[in-house]
């Protein structure tokens, strides 16, 4: 009984739009495949006449000979219209499915972002499970830790640890970017050259190294085609 079930599952017939879809394993013996196909197509009776058959033999290479033999066999015995092989699409990694528009989306995204207003002084530690937003300055000697991104609407002068532990996608943004040390997902950047420019800067990981860039010039999220939830 088990054997039959197993064999049945090895060759399957399915009706598609204007023909039939046959899934089979080309490594099976030829006689077995022919017997099974005969059994299946006998059940179809007149429907098999002049029909379109697509054979999906998986991704195994050098199966053209087997497919050709099956094609001739089916055309001779059941007078099917055409027999073609199913080819897998190549390089089809791009997702062309429609994406929801964030502006018109009814669904709301709840996010665990911690918002803190005020000055973080030396010796004070702030820890957030996910993103951390600080409306104020972070003084030297303080430590701020977040599971996700860190956004500082003020001067960053202390130690900032983003993406703890192990999230290297995280970023650190500060209006005044003068940290003692920053870490993103376990990568440490100490002794950053102090920049004198008065611009919003952000730190991110690039090829395993922390890079600090001008946020407005780099515009890292400007190239995203769709708004996404971080």
């Amino acid at each position: 009984m088990d054997n039959i079930l197993k064999e049945k599952s090895q060759i399957r017939l399915k009706g598609v739009k204007d023909g039939f879809w046959v899934t089979l394993d080309p490594t099976l013996p030829k006689e077995f495949i022919e017997n099974e196909l005969t059994r299946l197509f006998n059940q179809l009776e007149h429907l098999a006449f002049n029909s379109k058959v697509i054979i999906d033999a998986g991704n195994i290479e050098n199966n053209e000979n087997i497919l050709e033999a099956i094609g001739i066999f089916l055309k001779d015995k059941f007078k099917v219209g055409s027999v073609s092989a199913h080819h897998k699409e190549h390089g089809g990694t791009e997702d062309f499915s429609r994406k929801p528009d964030m502006a018109t989306l009814r669904r709301q995204h709840y996010n665990d972002a911690t918002v803190i207003a005020g000055r973080i002084r030396s010796g004070q530690n702030i820890t957030a499970k996910k993103h951390l937003i600080i409306l104020g300055d972070v003084n030297p000697g303080s430590v701020i830790v977040a599971g996700g991104d860190i956004l500082i609407m003020g001067n960053l002068g202390g130690t900032a640890l983003a993406g703890q532990p192990g999230n290297q996608e995280s970023i650190i943004i500060a209006i005044g970017f003068k940290p003692i040390q920053i870490q993103i997902g376990g990568i440490i950047a100490a002794g950053l050259p102090s920049s004198s420019q008065h611009s919003i800067e952000y730190a991110h990981v690039e090829n395993g190294v922390i890079v600090v860039e001008d946020y407005v010039k780099a515009n890292p999220f400007g190239r995203l085609t769709w708004p996404v939830v971080r």
């Binding site: 000055r119 002084r121 030396s122 010796g123 004070q124 300055d137 003084n139 030297p140 000697g141 002068g157």
Partner: protein, 266 residues
């Protein structure tokens, strides 16, 4: 009316807490207030030397707090300035001999007799700091324009806010020439990082060393810029809000000023 307890602290050592305590205490006494300055640096007392009263110590703050003597016995009266009293620290004990609760009770007694009680806090944030801060109504932070001093002051400000005390800032030892050349933090930088109310700015003054070594109160030295600044700070503490904060300027000689006017040299 009950007196006010003000703690003078900094976190970092050697920034001028003791000098500031002695000078502000003396200046407040010159304003006609009853002032007690209490040395909380038990084991490493200095305030008595700075005030020139070290040879008159009989009882100390430890004796007074633990009830071995009366407050009047421990408080040493300054002979040059009326209404100024010093309660010295003990040199043979350590800071663990007192507790914050004991200090709160002791200051409750002091409030009845004095208008202002200035506590000279020791450096650090351990027991001595806790003892000094526990009874305080107000706090003065002394900070020099150095990164290390600013860092420690920032930490202390955080600890004081945790005890719901809003401290005021004095920036000490400003050298205007160095600030002008960009070698020293300006008082604006310090205030920006610490972001608390500014009480006064004091320039670097060699008279401080003279005053400390001779025991002569700084505020009584006529030519001392620092002494004048401390007197203005005392007036502000005493409720005279309209006294402007003077920013230490580079002092140029008479001939240089003339030269500048007519456009020769710098």
């Amino acid at each position: 009316m009950e007196g006010k307890v003000i703690v003078v602290t900094s976190g970092k050592g050697g920034v001028g807490k003791t000098t500031a305590t002695a000078s502000i205490g003396a200046a407040l006494a010159l304003e006609g207030k009853q002032v007690a300055v209490v040395d909380m640096d038990i084991g490493l007392r200095n305030l008595d030397v700075v005030m020139g009263l070290e040879n008159r110590i009989v009882f100390t703050v430890v004796d007074a707090v633990r009830g071995k003597c009366k407050i009047k016995q421990a408080a040493i009266k300054d002979r040059r300035i009326d209404n100024l009293y010093l309660i010295p620290a003990s040199q043979s004990d350590n800071k663990d001999i007192l507790t914050p609760d004991m200090m709160v009770r002791f200051c409750k007694e002091l409030r009845k007799e004095f208008d202002y009680i200035l506590l000279d806090c020791p450096a650090g944030i351990e027991r001595g700091f806790e003892n000094s801060v526990a009874p305080a109504d107000e706090a003065i932070i002394i900070c020099t324009p150095e990164v290390s001093s600013v860092r420690d002051a920032d930490r202390v400000i955080g600890l004081l806010y945790a005890k719901s005390i809003a401290p005021k800032l004095i920036v000490n030892r400003i050298v205007p020439e160095m600030v002008e050349n960009g070698d020293m933090l300006s008082h604006e930088d310090v205030v920006e990082v610490l972001s608390i109310e500014l009480l006064g700015l004091i320039r670097m003054d060699t008279n401080v060393v003279i005053s400390t070594n001779t025991g002569m109160p700084l505020v009584l030295l006529k030519e001392s810029e620092a002494g004048k600044a401390f007197r203005r700070i005392a007036m502000r503490l005493n409720g005279q809000k309209n006294i402007p904060i003077e920013i230490p300027q580079v002092q140029r000689s008479f001939w240089k000023k003339i030269g500048q006017k007519i456009g020769i040299g710098r």
